[in-house]
């Protein structure tokens, strides 16, 4: 399915609006849409909604042998997927330009900035290290996937707990969460991406573009920063002409936005931690907006069991009992038996059968074999390789595969 293209008047309308410093959803130029971070019941699972854009991140881990070049470091792997749910234009298992850009940007933002202490993920040097895998699923595409993905990934990483391990000699014991409390990853800093969209050859700039705005933009500038005002990556894309001052100005805006978002993530993390500690209810079920008209929830409901047994009995008694005596199979040749007095097997029939035409050449060999079995079977069986050796008396040119004597 194709993406609905933007009409020319929509395009001019949007550009005009940008010029007049107005946005479709009534935001100011530098405003972000509402950010909502919710954590799942699992450690390391979180959804982030940025306006209508929605992503789901899940962190998982497993023990793997390390890379030869870095025997004492754990491995962090990012995999962002554009689910076809997010937009009809996304097709599963296809490497689109957008997918490559997002994945690489996520890697650069979170791996190259060394925000995770990979050395602490080493279990046995050169033998076993933790591989941390971050899966990010885009569920709904309404622009600015990069920012949403980076917020989701870093929140999920900060939320994640890996199982504790103990090493005794060469044996590695992995403790279940019941045995020992799982361990959080050590995260040095939290890089967050902030996207800027440029219009009219860089004259106008918007923070957090929505999908419609992204469609008319000249290009994007993504700056990843942490709250210590350190830039973790910069990436421009889309063939725009930028001036140095614009980049510097964007980096200043980014630093403000990043500190706001970091506070939000920390607040969400603390909130989740508190609820878990107090033994309250957490997870996605709790975060469902109950007041919405489209949402409904029911408490645990017992299922009426009376009558179930009677119903089952009824069907059982209705059904006829299977007959004890069944027809016996016929042994056609050593190692080959047949059930049923069928004539339906077209392979066994003579050549003049009309239906044979559709059978194709490849069946021929089998057919000959079958025919032989059905007619007077001539068995020459002293070969060890095969139990049944059948020669077709009518077809002297038997295929070479079968031993003749």
């Amino acid at each position: 399915m194709k993406e609905t293209p933007l009409s020319a008047c929509e395009r001019t309308f949007l550009l005009k609006a940008v010029e007049e410093k107005k946005r479709l959803d009534g935001r100011q130029t530098y405003d972000y849409r509402n950010i909502r971070i919710t954590f799942g019941t699992d450690y390391g699972c979180c959804t982030v909604s940025l306006g209508k854009t929605r992503v789901l991140a899940q962190v998982s881990c497993e023990l793997v042998p390390p890379k030869d070049s870095r025997p004492t470091e754990g491995i962090v792997f990012f995999n962002l997927e554009l689910s076809p749910m997010a937009s009809p234009a996304f097709q599963p298992n296809r490497q689109s330009e957008l997918l490559v850009t997002l994945n690489r940007q996520l890697e650069r933002c979170l791996r190259n900035s060394k925000c995770i202490d990979t050395e602490s993920l080493c279990v046995v040097s050169g033998e076993k290290v933790w591989q941390i895998r971050v899966d990010v699923h885009v569920l709904n595409h309404d622009g600015n996937l990069m920012d949403a993905a980076s917020i989701a990934a870093i929140s999920a990483l900060s939320h994640f707990r890996r199982p504790d391990v103990a090493i005794q000699g060469r044996d590695i014991t992995i403790f279940s969460p019941e045995e020992r409390d799982p361990v959080a990853l050590s995260i040095y800093h939290m890089p967050i991406c902030v996207s800027f969209a440029f219009f009219q050859q860089g004259t106008y700039l918007l923070v957090d573009p929505c999908e419609k705005e992204e469609q008319v933009t000249d290009g994007l500038l993504v700056i990843a920063m942490n709250k210590h005002r350190e830039i973790c990556s910069i990436q421009s894309s889309g063939g725009i002409m930028l001036l140095k001052d614009q980049v510097l100005r964007c980096s200043k805006i980014a630093s403000v936005k990043v500190s706001e978002i970091t506070d939000l993530i920390n607040k969400a993390l603390e909130n989740d931690k508190r609820v878990r500690k107090e033994g309250g209810r957490f997870g996605f079920a709790e975060s469902m907006p109950k007041e919405r008209i489209t949402a409904l929830k029911r408490d645990e409901a017992p299922v009426e069991m009376t009558g179930v047994q009677e119903m089952a009995e009824e069907f059982l008694s209705k059904g006829e009992a299977a007959p004890e005596v069944v027809s016996s199979p016929v042994i056609v040749a050593t190692g080959t038996g047949q059930l049923g007095e069928g004539v339906q097997s077209t392979w066994g029939l003579e050549e003049e059968d009309e239906e044979d035409e559709c059978q194709g050449e490849m069946d021929k060999e089998e057919k000959k074999k079958k025919k032989a079995e059905k007619d007077e079977v001539m068995v020459i069986s002293d070969s060890e390789e095969e139990e049944v050796v059948v020669l077709n008396p009518e077809a002297p040119k038997s295929k070479g595969k079968r031993p003749k004597h």
Binding site: M1, K2, G40, T41, D42, C45, T47, K52, R54, L56, Q58, S60, E81, S83, P84, M85, A86, S87, P88, P92, R133, D135, H137, L139, N140, H141, D142, G283, F284, A285, M288, P289, R292, I293, T294, A295, L296, K297, R298, D299, E300, A301, P302, V303, E304, M305, T306, G307, V308, Q309, M311, A312, E313, F315, L316
Partner: protein, 220 residues
């Protein structure tokens, strides 16, 4: 031995749903059963690829996205079950030569995943306003080592169970649309589970009705 008791087993966990929560798809819904949660999105009827076109009805594609890693053979089997169930109830002849796409994203798996997928799929199809001859719902039953039947089992209960069955029940005659099982069980147990699923389906169909009522309460 096959005696079932009205123990703690025969309950449906807390369940809920939210419809129309994604802006892009034509219909979307999430369904929660306890901690198990599935998000479904539907696109269509829309233009179909030529090689997938069917001349007298709509082509339905179902994609099940696992939470971690790539989709595997297990997801394919689930896709087949969900697709054929939906095909049976959708009046796809009303949209010939078009495509319907149903995407299911596993958000959290705490048992009874296939039934949750089915329920989310049905809610999303309803939200998309696609014509259906009847509704369907999924119910999972587990038989534990004491031969007790547990409805809507958690992941822990699934692991400890001897057999696991998931049925899709239709809303018209409460008949079995789909059946998928694991483990071994007697005929009687199967019949009991079917009967129990039919009972449990009443609750879910009532839930469907309530949520539609609530949704359109402001209009009616």
């Amino acid at each position: 031995m096959d005696q079932i008791e009205t123990g703690s087993g025969s309950v449906l966990r807390e369940y809920g749903s939210e419809q129309n929560l994604l802006s892009k798809p034509d219909g979307s819904a999430t369904f929660l059963q306890g901690d198990t949660s599935v998000l479904a999105g539907v696109y269509g009827p829309a233009e179909v690829k030529v090689n997938k076109e069917i001349y007298d009805r709509a082509t339905l594609e179902v994609v099940v996205q696992p939470k971690v890693g790539m989709s595997s053979v297990r997801e394919r089997a689930r896709e087949q079950c969900v697709r054929e169930t939906c095909e049976a109830v959708l009046l796809s002849t009303l949209h010939p030569r078009s495509s319907l796409t149903l995407i299911l994203q596993v958000v959290h798996d705490d048992g009874s995943l296939l039934s949750c997928c089915l329920n989310a799929a049905c809610m999303a199809l309803m939200d998309a306003g696609l014509p259906m001859g009847r509704l369907f719902c999924g119910v999972t039953c587990a038989i534990d080592s004491d031969s007790q039947i547990i409805t809507d089992p958690t992941a822990q209960q699934e692991r400890e169970s001897r057999a696991l069955m998931t049925f899709a029940i239709d809303s018209k005659e409460r008949n079995v649309l789909m059946s998928s099982t694991k483990g071994s069980f007697s005929v009687k147990e199967l019949q009991q589970c079917i009967a129990l699923s039919q009972k449990a389906s009443e609750k879910i169909f009532q839930f469907y009705r309530d949520s539609v009522k609530r949704r359109y309460s402001k209009i009616l």
